[in-house]
Each structure stands twice: as structure tokens, then as C-alpha cells.
């Protein structure tokens, strides 16, 4: 990023110009902040001197509700609403944590169904992320194309559990509805329909010259800073760190499928810039389609309701389980005191740590670059504020 030298600007008659800093509020209501985020920006002309994020405008007291519920199953709808763009992944993380606390295993069919739903949801979430990112940069068309594909995925979800956005689908010990007849064929149709669409997105947006100029070399996040700040998911992998919880800290049956975590290599600029993070998401969508196809071919028959416990009363103890949600490492730290309702549920949200790195990577850039950086981190405020 070329740093503008503001020290020696003079008029044509030689009079030096004074400049002073201005504080501008971006948000909480702003079309480009992906929700109610307030960025207090200290500006020197157009250059950003400092950014102070203010959050908490969507704090919905999830942890207090989790403690007040009578039953571990009743917490699942609240978990859905944490990251509403990737609700299946949220369900997955929570039910895995409770199942580990209880020490139960689920039937094979349930494992396959959960992986299929989680990967389809990952694609839907990345479609929102990439579509709104294009919208921030100024491209209207990819947004409409990506939402068209997302409607097909939401049709699949609606077929199964009746809801489009917030499902309450994965329960402790199983799922709420079995796959309806015709789901597997429709999902296979979707997979073959979706593969050429990724090429369409690359032609429209990813390799577009203007998009590359807006995002390459912008907001470079070095790998050690990313690890120190606790970043995860596409933000961490975009900086070149080869770490994916599905492979490195495996859960469920991900080790039965052939797929590759995608990392950023600095093809268009520097490793760890906005373009890398965006491209990691596009390439992850292709990998998710691979996983879904393999799972659809291997899925066995069985009863999905057999392992759902009648009463959930874990022994006193605690557990921390993390899964790879669409935005990064989603962890649930659950403390149980032996009764039927949770004693403490802490949701470790990936966007909370991803957002804390904004001041580090956006000093010295311009205001438009700040919007590009905030969009590339792909934050969802429901998760940040819980």
C-alpha cells in the first residue's frame, strides 16, 4: 500500500497545509458493515490512522438463556440464532459438545446426515459471504447469482425440516427429521448443477481486474499475528497457515472423505490479503461439494431417533469441543453440575477473535480499503455478540 506523504504538501505559492485528524463513526447502521457493528475510525484525510471496533449492539444474552433452560435440547434454537448464516454448523458444534459430555455415540446414518447438512450449510454461508463482499466492493450481479444458488440449498433444507434459515434440526443424540424420500436424488442434482457455477463466479468476480485491484495487497494479515490473535477458518487459512479442525482435530466422520483444506498462497498479491481470504472461501465451496457427493454415495440406512436420550442428565464435569464452522473455530465450553439444565455454556465464536484483528491490519489504509477488509473477515454480529 503506497503511504501518502502528508508532511510536505504546499500550495502553489509555497504555503504549507495544516491537517488534523477527524473521528468518523461507521455504523451501527451502515450498508456495508454486515450488521450492527460500529467502527470508530480516526482519519487523517482519507488515510485511516486507527480503528476501534465497538460491538454489543446485538447482545442477545444467549449464555443467560442457556443457563435458564430446563433441558439441554431447548438450547439448540438459541444456538441457531448465534450465527444465523450458518445455523447447521452451530447446531453441530453444540450437540457434539453435549454428546461428548454425556459420552454417547450416534448411529452411522445420523453422522452422515449431519455431515451432509453441515457442508451444504457451509456452501450457503460462503455464498452469502462472497455475494455481500461483492456488494461491498460495488458488484451487484454476483450477489444475485449467488442468492439464486442459495435458494436451491434452502429448498433442500426446507424439504427436510421445514425451515429456511433457522432449523433446530440437529438434536442431542440425533436429528429431528429423517431425510425425506427424494432428498438424495435432489441433492445429487444440486451437486452437478453447482459445480459449473463456481467457474461462473470466478469469471464474474474473482478474476475481475477491478476486484483484484481493490482486494489484492489490502489488509495483509501475517500468519504469526493471525495465530496470536486467535483467528481461525478462512481468515487463518488465507494467511497461509495450513490448519483445518476437520482434519487436524477431527470430529464426526470427516476422516472418511477425500478433500483438501484450501490455503492462501498470495497468487494475486501478498499471502494473507483480502483476495486470498475470499478465494479460500470460493475454493472451499468446491471441496464441500466433493464431501457432499461422497457422503450421499456412502450413506447407510438406519434409525435416526434411536440414540436421542429421554432425559439428559450428564455427570458433573466440563468439556470444550470445537468444530469448523463456516467462519472458523466454533467452540462450546459446557459446565454441568449434574442437573438437567446446563450450569454454564460459553460459545466461543470465531468472528469475535477474527474481528479483534481489524485494528492491526488496517492502519495506513484508506476508508474504502477498510470496508474491503471488514468484508473479507466475514463477520456475523449475531455470533460476535451472542
Amino acid at each position: 500500500m503506497p503511504e501518502t506523504n502528508l508532511e510536505n504538501i504546499t500550495t502553489s505559492t509555497g504555503r504549507p497545509l495544516r491537517h488534523e485528524e477527524v473521528v468518523v463513526n461507521v455504523g451501527p447502521q451502515h450498508p456495508a458493515t454486515h450488521g450492527v457493528l460500529r467502527l470508530e475510525v480516526v482519519l487523517d484525510g482519507e488515510i485511516v490512522v486507527d480503528v476501534i471496533p465497538h460491538i454489543g449492539y446485538l447482545h442477545r444474552c444467549f449464555e443467560k438463556h442457556a443457563e435458564s433452560m430446563n433441558n439441554y435440547q431447548q438450547v439448540v434454537p438459541y444456538v441457531d440464532r448465534m450465527d444465523y448464516c450458518a445455523a447447521m454448523n452451530m447446531d453441530f458444534g453444540y450437540v457434539l459438545a453435549v454428546e461428548k459430555l454425556l459420552g454417547i455415540t450416534v448411529p452411522e446414518r445420523v453422522e452422515y446426515i449431519r455431515v451432509i447438512m453441515a457442508e451444504l450449510q457451509r456452501i450457503a454461508s460462503h455464498l452469502i459471504a462472497a455475494g455481500t463482499y461483492g456488494l461491498d466492493i460495488g458488484a451487484w450481479t454476483p450477489f444475485l447469482y449467488m442468492f439464486r444458488e442459495r435458494e436451491r440449498i434452502l429448498d433442500l433444507f426446507e424439504m427436510t425440516c421445514g425451515a429456511r434459515l433457522l432449523y433446530n434440526y440437529m438434536w442431542v443424540g440425533g436429528v429431528s427429521h429423517d431425510l425425506p424420500p427424494g432428498f438424495i436424488d435432489k441433492a445429487k442434482d444440486f451437486c452437478s448443477y453447482f459445480r459449473p457455477k463456481v467457474k461462473e463466479y470466478n469469471d464474474l468476480l474473482s478474476y475481475n481486474d477491478i476486484f483484484i485491484r481493490r482486494t489484492a495487497n489490502v489488509g495483509v494479515l501475517p500468519a504469526d499475528v493471525a495465530i496470536a490473535y486467535g483467528c481461525s477458518g478462512p481468515v487463518l487459512r488465507g494467511s497461509g497457515v495450513d490448519f483445518d479442525i476437520r482434519r487436524d482435530d477431527p470430529y464426526s466422520i470427516y476422516n472418511r472423505f477425500e478433500w483438501q483444506p484450501q490455503i492462501g498462497r498470495g497468487e494475486m498479491g501478498t499471502t494473507g490479503d483480502c483476495w486470498d481470504r475470499y478465494m479460500v472461501r470460493i475454493r472451499e465451496m468446491e471441496q464441500s461439494i466433493n464431501i457432499v457427493e461422497q457422503a450421499l454415495n456412502q450413506i447407510p440406512d438406519g434409525d435416526v431417533f434411536s440414540a436421542i436420550p429421554k432425559r439428559i442428565r450428564p455427570n458433573p464435569g466440563e468439556v470444550y469441543v470445537r468444530t469448523e464452522s463456516a467462519r472458523g473455530e466454533l467452540g462450546f465450553y459446557i459446565v454441568s453440575d449434574g442437573s438437567g439444565s446446563p450450569y454454564r455454556v460459553k460459545g466461543r465464536s470465531p468472528c469475535f477473535s477474527n474481528l479483534s484483528v481489524i485494528p492491526e491490519i488496517s492502519r495506513g489504509c484508506m476508508v474504502a480499503d477498510l470496508i474491503a477488509i471488514a468484508g473479507s473477515l466475514d463477520i456475523v454480529l449475531g455470533e460476535v455478540d451472542r
Partner: protein
């Protein structure tokens, strides 16, 4: 033009009331302010996308409240956000309408019981015209809410209430 082009043999005069013309023009081009707060915002975006198009109703989103007619409060309103909503509502120019989308904006939603930071309904800070229930409401439900708001605008009167 278009529908009426070259249909008549002489020049004509259209007779209607001022109310009908004003109301028809207001409801046919409602410009909402982009005010997505939470999950309902994703459904609002999906309603605006190509599958359930909002552009055919004359609706497209404006970023600033000064150029907007209607504020679709989509999502949970927290107490920290409540004062900002009041400021934004005051910045909108009249005639202005508010559509409360989703269960959280109507009454606090699933957070009504233990939510210490959730405002139990946006009508505690601003006046609301239409409530759309659902969590989140389907795009068709939001469209029905918008059409109901259009009917409400259609029946607005310019005259003062009579004293009888």
C-alpha cells in the same frame, strides 16, 4: 404511457382525487432504509434478491434514512441499539412508515423471558404501522406485510378528522 398509448381518439382528461393519486404514488415506490439487524436481515436480503423480487414493487434499498420512506426493522433490537433507532427514525422525512419484521422486533421474540439486554418490541421506542410475525418470516410473509402496508397507505386521508 405504455398501457394508454394511442388508445384514445381525442385528447383526454383524467379525473381522480388528490388522495388517490398521492397515495398511489407513495405506495408504488416505497424506498426502505437498509436496516437489517439480525437473522431477519438475511431473509430480507433473500426477498430482495432475484427469487422473490422486491424491485417489481418499486422497492429498492437506500442506505441513508434521509432518503427513505419506510424502515423495515428486521431483527432483534437491543437496548444499546434502541437510542440509535430513535435517532434514525427521527431523521427520516415524513411521510414515513415502520414495518416491524420478525418476532424479535414485534415483542422480543425468543428472548422475551431472560433477555436483559433485549428490547421487548421496537414499538417501545418508535411507532409501528405493520407487524410481520415469524422467526424468521418467510419472504412471502414479508411480501404480505409490505402489501398490507401498501393497503394502509392507499386508505390514508388528507382531510382532518371531522368533529362529529
Amino acid at each position: 404511457m405504455g398501457l394508454l398509448d394511442k388508445k384514445f381518439s381525442d385528447a383526454n382528461i383524467l379525473i381522480t382525487t388528490t388522495e388517490e393519486i398521492l397515495n398511489w404514488s407513495r405506495l408504488s415506490s416505497m424506498w426502505p432504509m437498509q436496516f437489517g439487524l439480525a437473522c431477519c436481515a438475511i431473509e430480507m436480503m433473500a426477498t430482495g434478491a432475484s427469487h422473490y423480487d422486491l424491485d417489481r414493487f418499486g422497492i429498492f434499498f437506500r442506505a441513508t434514512p434521509r432518503q427513505a420512506d419506510v424502515m423495515i426493522v428486521a431483527g432483534t433490537v437491543t437496548i444499546k441499539m434502541a437510542s440509535r433507532i430513535r435517532t434514525l427514525y427521527d431523521q427520516m422525512a415524513e411521510p414515513r412508515y415502520v414495518l416491524s419484521m420478525g418476532s424479535c422486533a414485534t415483542c422480543g421474540g425468543p428472548y422475551w423471558e431472560h433477555g436483559y439486554h433485549v428490547l421487548k418490541g421496537v414499538d417501545r421506542v418508535i411507532p409501528v404501522d405493520v407487524y410481520v410475525p415469524g422467526c424468521p418470516p418467510r419472504p412471502e410473509a414479508l411480501l404480505e406485510g409490505i402489501i398490507k402496508l401498501q393497503e394502509k397507505i392507499r386508505s390514508e386521508k388528507l382531510t382532518k378528522k371531522s368533529e362529529k
